[in-house]
Symmetry: D4
Subunit: 215 residues, 8 copies
Amino acid sequence: MKIHPNSTLLMIGDSITDCGRARPVAEAVGSDLGNGYVSLIHALLGATCPERHIRIRNMGISGNTVRDLAARWQSDVLELAPDWLSIMIGINDVWRQFDAPLQTEWHVSLDEYASILEQLVRTTRPQLKGLVLMTPYFIETNQADPMRAAMDLYGDVVRQLAGRYRAVLVDTQAAFDDLLTAVHPMALASDRVHANLTGHMVIARAFLKALNYTW
Amino acid sequence: MKIHPNSTLLMIGDSITDCGRARPVAEAVGSDLGNGYVSLIHALLGATCPERHIRIRNMGISGNTVRDLAARWQSDVLELAPDWLSIMIGINDVWRQFDAPLQTEWHVSLDEYASILEQLVRTTRPQLKGLVLMTPYFIETNQADPMRAAMDLYGDVVRQLAGRYRAVLVDTQAAFDDLLTAVHPMALASDRVHANLTGHMVIARAFLKALNYTW
Amino acid sequence: MKIHPNSTLLMIGDSITDCGRARPVAEAVGSDLGNGYVSLIHALLGATCPERHIRIRNMGISGNTVRDLAARWQSDVLELAPDWLSIMIGINDVWRQFDAPLQTEWHVSLDEYASILEQLVRTTRPQLKGLVLMTPYFIETNQADPMRAAMDLYGDVVRQLAGRYRAVLVDTQAAFDDLLTAVHPMALASDRVHANLTGHMVIARAFLKALNYTW
Amino acid sequence: MKIHPNSTLLMIGDSITDCGRARPVAEAVGSDLGNGYVSLIHALLGATCPERHIRIRNMGISGNTVRDLAARWQSDVLELAPDWLSIMIGINDVWRQFDAPLQTEWHVSLDEYASILEQLVRTTRPQLKGLVLMTPYFIETNQADPMRAAMDLYGDVVRQLAGRYRAVLVDTQAAFDDLLTAVHPMALASDRVHANLTGHMVIARAFLKALNYTW
Amino acid sequence: MKIHPNSTLLMIGDSITDCGRARPVAEAVGSDLGNGYVSLIHALLGATCPERHIRIRNMGISGNTVRDLAARWQSDVLELAPDWLSIMIGINDVWRQFDAPLQTEWHVSLDEYASILEQLVRTTRPQLKGLVLMTPYFIETNQADPMRAAMDLYGDVVRQLAGRYRAVLVDTQAAFDDLLTAVHPMALASDRVHANLTGHMVIARAFLKALNYTW
Amino acid sequence: MKIHPNSTLLMIGDSITDCGRARPVAEAVGSDLGNGYVSLIHALLGATCPERHIRIRNMGISGNTVRDLAARWQSDVLELAPDWLSIMIGINDVWRQFDAPLQTEWHVSLDEYASILEQLVRTTRPQLKGLVLMTPYFIETNQADPMRAAMDLYGDVVRQLAGRYRAVLVDTQAAFDDLLTAVHPMALASDRVHANLTGHMVIARAFLKALNYTW
Amino acid sequence: MKIHPNSTLLMIGDSITDCGRARPVAEAVGSDLGNGYVSLIHALLGATCPERHIRIRNMGISGNTVRDLAARWQSDVLELAPDWLSIMIGINDVWRQFDAPLQTEWHVSLDEYASILEQLVRTTRPQLKGLVLMTPYFIETNQADPMRAAMDLYGDVVRQLAGRYRAVLVDTQAAFDDLLTAVHPMALASDRVHANLTGHMVIARAFLKALNYTW
Amino acid sequence: MKIHPNSTLLMIGDSITDCGRARPVAEAVGSDLGNGYVSLIHALLGATCPERHIRIRNMGISGNTVRDLAARWQSDVLELAPDWLSIMIGINDVWRQFDAPLQTEWHVSLDEYASILEQLVRTTRPQLKGLVLMTPYFIETNQADPMRAAMDLYGDVVRQLAGRYRAVLVDTQAAFDDLLTAVHPMALASDRVHANLTGHMVIARAFLKALNYTW
């Protein structure tokens, strides 16, 4: 697997990453990882290659957009100095344009999204052993749906940044699209965003496959 | 308005109708109507024509399919002997086929749905002053979506029964479709079923317009 | 309707306006509007003319008098710079004189009420596209009742200010008086102030009719 | 005082009597008396004449009408065989006609009220050392108010039965009317029925004065 | 009654005075008075002489000793500038010596008690229309009990200060001693301190009788 | 120690014995023993002589009198067939006479107490390897106090039955009296009955000393 | 994978299987599977081969021994007629002998365990398409530990039954033993039984590998 | 017993010492001692030699390592100036190395542990009448277990410091090892650390025996 032994992997994002992680970090190991794809990746690594000693830190916060990430980047990423970093952001940047169309101060335009995200990636990349960029997703098969169409554009930003900055790309949208040939979105997430455990396993598997993990 | 003065209107259905109504019915008026379209209709009538004395009873129960309605029809409809009756059922009949595809015992096929619903309507109609049949709906613009396509077929059953049994038809799907030209489904219901207050107002308004209510 | 497309309407007041709105404002749209007339106006606009894009902000706080409004006017009105503003205040200014007759520091006299309210209206009016002034009310048919008599005097202040400052007047007292020819106050509010959903619909309808809204 | 030493006094009624009493009766003395006039009478007797050993049992149940009293008369009065009995009932019999005008099955007409109450009094009186009949009340000064007017008629039934069956009459309405010359109803009960502690003290004092209690 | 019309009476003390009063003081009248003798005095005055307009403020705090009173005297007494003041303190000063004999830092000796209390009374008396000093008490009939004996000495301090500073003396210990000829302490307070409602009525009555109140 | 290895010891009584034990008995060992003297005896045996394998069952129920014990004797003692049995009952039999003097149906007279208790002991003794009788107690130094005097009489019944039926006597009252020469009752139990952990240790130690346990 | 498409797989066991599953089964899919290895298997199948339509039912109940399984076998296994069945039982059969050594009625001896389990397997096997037998485990590296030694004997029963009845064997103990060469038991389960998510992933992976599942 | 009459004994440590003590310290005596060995020592002293007046303060905090102790030493030990001090620390210093092997910033190495602990002991010893050093423990019989082996090394540090600084040594590990010849660790603590009441009694007894306490 690509992640080096004895590395720390910091995973930052929104509610998909957060997924109910305990705050502040308590005595017990594990509860600080939440109940989503981050904890599944941790469990899969722990069950198959504990001797690699890969430590995961969950820095997701529900509701975050890329703007919120920038505001806490210094304390939540740089000061923790991880070896590897993964970023999955953008769902709320898009979503608020559709479920809160009148609250325009909550919207993050494609340009602002691309600009902030690139700024974070460019300045941080040199200090990392490895970077993983994960696309945002919308579990919707109809590509003409305006929110799906928008999400695809935000995902394209991630795809381009991955190429430009030598990052491992995890195309979560593609992973879900694959599965949606067999099941309806309702079987993965009633709101097409907050996935059930199966949906989180889809993300965890896409992540690990992109890193050449073998089970 | 078509509903006669001094009538009782019983409204039966699933979680959309139920919408958190208090059970058992308590001393206070109102809490037994829930927080959805039923309570909005009650409030609109009360604010504009209280002198008509139209009493509303909410008999919705979350998660119900037409099968569940049939099982409680005697106690929850017939024994209460309403003057007017409204029925909105079918969403769960369809939904379980998509969010629980393997739990086949929870699915209600189109044939079974049509058969049970007609049986209920045919035997009850003679005892009513008026009947309102409301289509189930799915707040989805993509008519090729399999769950939308299925919902439309179940809605067609309702549309046909309305004609056959002299019922007032409330086409909730059409009402939502109208609105969806201006807003995305996310602005009405994150899971495209459980509407927010605006969505319930859409249903309430469609109901009252079908009955020639003037505001 | 008089409110211009793409406007923000800020509605300020006491517990009738507040009505359980979530604080602080959370991610989800809607819960920040409470369960009263504000949310009903929002739902009615959303169900009938979403393309007008009228955004509503609820700034009511339970228990407020006009003195409390003045104390938070800078942060809660001026800094938010709404296009339209509605004010409904005065019920607690009067009520405390009757349910807490010995707590005189809680009372706001008619003079103080008129003086503070005019000060707020005069200085704010120039910055607004439109202003709505709503009378306080007491759901009491006996005009000789001392609290009703007092409320009418406070309402007169609002009526005069509306004329003087080109504001749309919403006479909530008159709207309730109309309805009380058909029902007893107990059917709208057991304490004659905190209305049930029907009572809030009365206010919402009076508001919208004053603005030439059509349903 | 009229109540004989070593007597049991059973007090039955609605929410005014009940007032939050613990059910089922627990080990601790006192919590089974609620927080209203019953507990105040108990405390006043206990603080001034504990040597009289007058035991009080609270049998009030919130929401009760005279119909509910009749239904539980055997178990809640006759089988407990009290020496003295007090009855205060009728508020809900009247109230439901005004706050739930359309729920006619909850209404108890004046005729039914008079008939049931007399039946209870006539058959029980011979087994009692003493009987106290308390009028229902409405803390409303406007005697033209329809609910006040109705309450006065129901109170008249109590006044007549007191004379006919040698009962001590406690005219709670008169006691409140006295006080309302000095304060507004809002200072005693925001809904004009559920009194605060001062209002319950008014009832307790009227009860004890009618029994020639000295403080 | 001795308390002048239109006066404010501030009552300060420990848990007996506090008795669950709401903090911070809320909109509603009454809940800020707790459930003990303070609220009973308020209710008795309200039920018999509301036209005297005597306002009561409860400033009791559970667990307080005279040391705690001194620490908050400026904000909780002087700045509120009451017309009349009542003080009941000393129970915890004594109690901690018996239930926490090793926590000597919690004990307040007789000398310290007398010294602080006199200091508070001497400096405040000139600003008051009237002062009420209430003895602490222990609902124990055995005067040889060490805690009862100690409480009597602390009570003597209060008795002497009442004479020296023209205060109305309320001898709560004497009031309880009277009653204990008829009932066991267990019938008033299982821990001989925290009285039930009957015990609080004993205190309220002793207070009012000392002020020549007539019922 | 007198209790035979591999014995079951069933301990029955009131709230002192019960002391919050979990019901129904759950998977986990220990929580079914409560937090009082029973669990302390269990812990002391477990910490010093686990090889004796003495199993303890707690059958205390809060509020019980000897009447309640008799009612559940068959299911809670006989059917469990313990080797050893301990009984501590009588506190509530006496207490209700003092804290609920008017609820005479809750009182258990000395005669009834002696009669029922002897009946239980006489019929059960033959089936036991050993019996422990524990006196009820009242943590009160004043032997002239009526409740203490009564408790001593009930204790005498236990003392006599212990002699008559070859039971080990645990004189809890004597154990507390010893300690009360050094501390005030308030240091052991604010209501002189429900002991703190030190008080429960006093009982546990008296129990074990009577059985010749060595620490 | 060995499990046939369109099969139902029923998984029965103790708290490891149960792992907090919702009861009764609610409307929502997923919560009825708990948070342990069952839900991980469900998620892995759902993320990789949803087109196989393998439905899983969780029938674990915390605290169960093989005795409890036998008692509910008819209703919880036979009447549900699964295609495939997995059984993991025995941990509590052994554990109670060590954490509750005196509660001998909770212990299930090796003989009783073997006898009941074989009885269940023998009678049920003919009705199944496939059977999976999972050993109980104890996450303890010291094979001389008496509880580990006992667990190995109970596991041997499972291993033998698997051979005798053509069942797929899942040796969970071996799977954990493998991992314990790299980590201490504390990293998987603080009590060496109730595994964290990594431990449950170990079980899920052992299960799927035994069935030739490919990821 | 070695502890001098009228002494204060401060006991500091981790969750074993803390054991749920109330914070902040409340009015009531006892709840500030938690439910573990500290409260048992308090109860044993109180039940047998209350006249010695030995006061105990619990300063344990869950999750603490020796590093955390050093950080709060000034406020939690030195400023409280106890006569006697007991320290039990080290379990978490070791445990985190095994249950959180990757969170290396939580680990305290043997060197750091020895260095900090000696520093605390050396500087504090001169101000104390007496010092008790308690070893950390792991309730594990297998001395080859890596966590047990590590705990023994940390315990050796305590054993050496006790000799060097004239402290009373309480070898909790030895006390548990004694008991483990008769019972399995599961009978004392399911996670081999957080003991049940029997386990806490083992610690309390070892503590008191080391101080020559007689029961």
